[in-house]
């Protein structure tokens, strides 16, 4: 799995802890890593993902449906799941303010064996690390 993930676009380093079942991925500086692709590649290598968290920096914008979205370069959009924390970012929409967020992008549903990456992954904001 480590080798398989290390071959994915935008991945610089993969660290695996067998004891904790934890996988840490350091993206390359070009930011071209695709979390949905990482998720799929992990399943393809024969293990199932219980959850996926990430730290991401970008601008808050509203998409065409009015959803709060984190726009991260190059051209990645993460819809923010509705919560008090994500709503606290609403005033920043369209302001150009860069925020750094830590959040959960995926959590395995009980009873589901296969990952569903067909739809966009929603980011559940867990912490607002920085506004600048």
């Amino acid at each position: 799995m480590k080798q398989h993930l290390g071959r994915q676009v935008g991945v610089q380093k993969v660290e695996v802890s067998l004891r904790d079942g934890k996988v840490d991925i350091t993206p390359k500086e070009d930011g071209r890593v695709d979390p949905a692709q990482i998720l799929k590649a992990t399943y393809d290598s024969g293990v199932s993902v219980a959850e996926m968290d990430m730290t991401v920096r970008g601008k808050i914008v509203k998409d065409e449906n009015g959803n709060l979205t984190l726009q991260s370069l190059p051209n990645q959009l993460f819809v923010l799941a509705a919560s008090d924390l994500s709503q606290s970012l609403a005033p920043l929409a369209g302001s150009g303010t860069q925020v750094t967020l830590r959040g959960q992008l995926y959590k395995k549903m009980e009873g589901k064996k296969k990952v569903d990456t067909a739809g966009p992954l929603k980011l559940v904001v867990q912490e607002i690390e920085k506004k600048e």
């Binding site: 904790d20 934890k22 991925i25 293990v47 199932s48 991401v56 991260s72 370069l73």
Partner: protein, 35 residues
């Protein structure tokens, strides 16, 4: 003319500038079934 040249230069060089404002900083997963 000078401004136009500078604008053209900026246009051509911008893809080469690192996207400092991009980005996913870190991804962490908890996995099951790893041996």
């Amino acid at each position: 003319m000078k401004a136009a040249k500078s604008a053209m230069l900026l246009l051509f060089l911008s893809p080469l500038v690192p996207h400092s404002q991009a980005e996913i900083r870190h991804i962490e997963m908890r996995v099951e079934g790893m041996t």
